[in-house]
């Protein structure tokens, strides 16, 4: 998820490291009625947003991807790149929903948004991705 959000493997690793440190520091604040994964994802997402903010909206090329000429892998890379072009919050909603397969109400808890907003963000993300992938791959559109 860190890699999807930040685009670079090193940044993602830093984000995971910071997340664990923050988790360690703030574990006493964790309310045991809440879901731990939600708590963990929330920290991770906040770390990612902080890093993106520090970076000042500068985007990186996706790295660490295996180069392949298989059309399926190529399509995956295209999708990775397309996801990377989405606005931060939209990207977060989509990655959590589509990649991490987290329920929308949980995403709302993680990102501190309403469920309606999450649904809208996912819908618009899918629309954008459709449009981005439309020209390059008939596989998606057909």
């Amino acid at each position: 998820m860190g890699r999807r959000m930040l685009g670079r493997q090193e940044d993602a690793e830093d984000a995971v490291q910071t997340t664990f440190l923050k988790l360690c520091r703030g574990l006493s604040q964790f309310q045991f009625g809440a879901k731990f994964s939600t708590y963990l994802f929330r920290i991770m997402m906040n770390v990612c947003f902080d890093m993106l903010q520090k970076r000042g909206g500068k985007k990186f090329e996706l790295s660490g991807m295996e180069v392949s000429y298989s059309p399926r892998v190529d399509l995956r890379m295209q999708l990775e790149e397309a996801i990377n072009t989405l606005p931060e919050r939209m990207r977060a909603c989509f990655v959590l929903f589509a990649v991490e397969e987290i329920k929308q109400n949980e995403i709302a808890g993680i990102l501190n948004l309403s469920v309606g907003t999450v649904k809208a963000q996912i819908f618009h993300a899918k629309a954008r991705l459709r449009a981005l992938l439309l020209d390059s791959h008939s596989e998606v559109t057909s």
């Binding site: 649904k119 899918k126 459709r130």
Partner: protein, 205 residues
């Protein structure tokens, strides 16, 4: 996109049942559903564990460093607390010392009384000693005439010098009777006078 049903369904404004009824009749919605299904399937495949062999070691290290930092902070806090305790203890000790000093300090009246009693004793002994020497002087001085003129002059000078010392000591003691130093000088002068008179008596006798 002309049909808004899919959007309404996606945004939760339309029931799933209504959308399911609508879907077979709308090719546009069918197309969108199919495309999104493919995108979601593709996105699901993106979730691949990324091999990062050093990541856990890095996390472990940073957690350990964090733990050490916390321990150090705890120790510093403890040290700070113990310093504060030491400071308070020192202040209390000084306060207790000052309190004890002022509480058990000899009262000025008592001190004068004690000094006065001791002084009285010393002065009494001195007077007795001086009286004995005066008695000796009364016996010795008439004998001085029996000595050679030179010896007589020598002893007279010596006795005069001693007497001058005694007078000076007594003058000083009149203003500062508690001065033990001067009292020692006086005693030495009196002893010197006694010895001189004895010598004189021996020579004359």
């Amino acid at each position: 996109m002309n049909c808004a049903f899919y959007q309404k369904y996606e945004l939760g404004e339309m029931d799933e049942r209504d959308f399911t009824l609508h879907l077979p009749a709308c090719s546009e919605c069918q197309n969108l559903v199919a495309q999104d299904t493919k995108i979601l399937a593709l996105a699901k495949n993106l979730r691949q564990p990324v091999a990062a062999p050093l990541l856990w070691a890095k996390i472990e290290n940073s957690l350990r460093a964090e733990q050490q930092r916390r321990r150090r902070l705890r120790w510093l806090n403890f040290q700070e607390r113990s310093w504060a305790i030491w400071r308070i203890a020192a202040v209390l000790l000084v306060a207790a010392g000052l309190g004890a000093y002022f509480l058990f300090k000899p009262q000025p009246n008592e001190s004068r009384l004690l000094a006065g009693a001791a002084l009285e004793q010393v002065e009494k002994k001195e007077r007795e000693y001086a009286a004995a020497i005066a008695e000796l002087e009364r016996t010795a001085l008439p004998q001085m005439a029996k000595l050679d003129i030179e010896l007589m002059l020598l002893y007279r000078d010596r006795l005069e010098t001693i007497e001058a010392q005694i007078v000076r000591c007594k003058e000083t003691l009149a203003t500062n009777p508690g001065n033990a130093h001067i009292r020692r000088y006086l005693l030495a002068a009196l002893q010197d006078k006694k010895e001189t008179l004895r010598e004189l008596l021996q020579l004359a006798g």
